[in-house]
Amino acid sequence: MTRKDQSFFLTLLVPVILVLLLFIAAPIGQSIFLSFHRIIIGLPQLKTPFVGLDNYQQLLTDPVARHSFWITIIFVATTTFFELLIGLLLALMINQHFPGRGALRACILIPWAIPTVVAAQMWRFLLNDAYGMVNYAVFGSETSHYIPWLAQPATALVAIIIADIWKTSSFAALLILAGLQVIPEEIYQAAKVDGAVVWRRFWHITWPLIRPALLVALLFRTIDAFRVFDIAFVMTQGGPADATNVLQLYGYKKMFVEGWMGYGSTISVCIFIMVLSLAIIYVRMVGRRLLEASV
């Protein structure tokens, strides 16, 4: 590569770098900047004094934030686990040869293709306490037994978890399916000749070979689940009794409902730091495994 080439390539990179700076670095920088200030949009007389780490200190002792943090952790852990499990099963299924496979593959992707707001609204109707299909399926016409799923803290949290699992399992399935398809058919045939049964074939061939794909899916799903907002916003608005008040929703309320820009930004920055550290850990793990697998 000549010098001229090099500078030409660098010039080509400029637009990308500018876009990244403008749309990623600038907002993040802005959020971090805001988080060090006390900004209340309803009280402009207070100006926007620099308060150092005050907001962060306040966040550490905020019982509502702590509660939201644990709610988010429960949400992330359960949704990620079940989405990967169901995603794996779906992927194994649609990797088989059977008539109508193409159509089924497309169908499985439907939940993922539906906008989250629409899906959440649909789940809200399904779980309605007076006319919801879920109640009808469980109790039939015994309307007096109908359960108000979204009005009880425990079931409301389970409800948003199930809605999220329903919605994104197929995304995990898609990623895992990609991993399955690179496994050559010959290995299975050879194993069959050697007399390996289905379970052994899965455990000794499929599992080790799709692990990298699973890890990629895990990375995507955990990070995404951490940023959950829309499902809770549409289905419960964080209620009842803050049972579904995930961190992003709490930050949103602080910032846009209460107008507490500084404190709201602090919450966003903390979520950003958590997601970033998770991503770094995963990428290191996954990166190494991916390399090992491809060698």
């Binding site: 309803g42 009280l43 306490d129 009880q152 209620g239 803050d242 409902v257």
Partner: protein, 430 residues
């Protein structure tokens, strides 16, 4: 040379286009943007906008529709006003916002256009709610106050008079439900979701037991007083999951009204608009069988309703304040309020409409309610009200959802948090 020529031609074309645009703009009416939310009777509002256009050919109103929920609408309006967005001229304010909008400098001070003698033609409650530090920042469009709806036919069948106390409501309801032997029928339906409406409903229970959030004389936070705790515990122990289905914990106005108009509740708390919906045979199974009155109280106390309702405000950075004012004047005129009262059952804010025989013929209950409307109580008037409300919503929702919760301890913690917020608000006055 060729390039230069092209540039000159291009420049000339752009210039002439600008000129044409300039000329045609002079003839075109000024356009103002009204940011609203989707109303319950959109056809009534549409008719009003058309009427305004007919009467004011010089002004065109572009209507932008925001979210129906007060909280979400607030988030959108404040974001746009905070950024000095000139693309909004007229906006709605919930009755709890004017102090915040005035203090933040988003709403235009209307004192010169809306002088005291004009203000006096309106009810006192909403005018107080729109005033802040000597100025007035909004013109009340319609008024809200918590009303008590009941099934006239059922009460008559069991020989009951509308209940005066909450206890009485529960006992009457129990008799009716036993007698009707309908498992789908509940005693009470209201709004208990964790949102602004929860504050309205809970404050009515608290006020009707002699309690309050902020003591009006001393300014102290008195949320942990026993009158408050008892009222909250009554809701938790006797209403949620007992008189009302447990589902009300996730109900806003529409869902709770549905229960009532589907013959599934004997008593119902809602705003004045519910009268029109519940009496519309196309939407309601109980049209013509409804009575309405003041909310019940706890023994020996005064009935109390929360003041609600919406006001028009003008963006302080609007480029068309005159046209915006023209529109607001039309929308809050006697004639418009008459139409809104008769066709959308929205309670007027102008006193004169309550004396109009046509309105009274169609809405006879309005007259009976005038004293109640006059006395409807505002939620705390403060530029930091949204923060106070979030704390109250959290407290109320936690207290009524969990039967084992220690209400008085939660009340103490919430008081301390509200005190901190209020202090923030008073810093600006020093």
């Amino acid at each position: 040379m060729k390039i230069l020529k092209l540039t000159i031609i291009g420049f000339g074309m752009v210039c002439s286009l600008c000129l044409v645009a300039q000329f045609s703009r002079a003839d075109e009416p000024a356009t103002i943007v009204f940011l609203t939310w989707k109303p319950n009777q959109p056809e009534v509002w549409k008719g009003l906008f058309q009427k305004f256009h007919r009467e004011n050919p010089g002004v065109r109103v572009k209507v932008q529709v925001g979210p129906h929920s007060s909280t979400e609408y607030h988030a959108i309006v404040t974001q746009r006003l905070k950024n000095r967005d000139k693309s909004v001229d007229v906006f709605f304010m919930d009755v709890i916002w004017p102090p915040e909008f005035a203090n933040a400098g988003w709403a235009l001070d209307l004192t010169s256009r809306f002088p005291v003698q004009e203000q006096n033609k309106f009810l006192t409650g909403p005018i107080t709610a729109n005033s802040y530090h000597g100025g007035i920042y909004g013109v009340p469009c319609y008024l809200g106050a918590g009303l008590f709806y009941y099934r006239k036919d059922l009460l008559k069948e069991y020989d009951f008079k509308p209940p005066l106390s909450w206890e009485e409501m529960v006992t009457q309801g129990q008799t009716i439900i036993q007698g009707e032997n309908d498992p789908g029928l509940h005693i009470y339906s209201a709004q208990f979701k964790q949102y602004e409406g929860l504050v309205c409903d809970m404050m009515e229970f608290i006020w009707s037991n002699g309690g309050a959030v902020i003591d009006s004389k001393t300014g102290q936070i008195v949320l942990d007083a026993s009158a408050v705790i008892k009222a909250v515990e009554f809701v938790r122990d006797r209403i949620i999951g007992k008189a009302a289905p447990r589902g009300v914990i996730n109900y806003e106005e529409p869902e709770s009204l549905d229960l009532f108009i589907q013959e599934k509740a004997v008593f119902h708390r809602n705003w004045p608009y519910a009268w029109a919906v519940a009496n519309d045979p196309k939407k309601s199974k109980i049209a013509g069988r409804i009575g309405v009155g003041p909310l019940p109280v706890f023994n020996g106390q005064e009935p109390a309703s929360t003041l609600g309702g919406w006001q028009f405000g003008i963006n302080r950075y609007s480029e068309h304040p005159e046209e915006a004012w023209q529109f607001i004047r039309f929308m809050t005129s006697h004639d418009t309020q008459k139409i809104l009262a008769m066709e959308a059952s929205l309670a007027p804010t102008r006193r004169s409409v309550y004396q109009n025989p046509e309105v009274l013929k169609k809405m006879p209950h309005f007259n009976t309610f005038l004293p109640a409307f006059e006395k409807a109580r505002p939620r705390p008037l403060s530029p930091v009200y949204p923060m106070i409300s979030q704390e109250l919503q959290r407290f109320f929702s936690r207290a009524i959802v969990d039967r084992s919760s220690d209400v008085s301890e939660m009340a103490k913690a919430t008081s301390a948090r509200i005190e901190k917020i209020v202090k923030l608000g008073t810093m600006i006055q020093k």
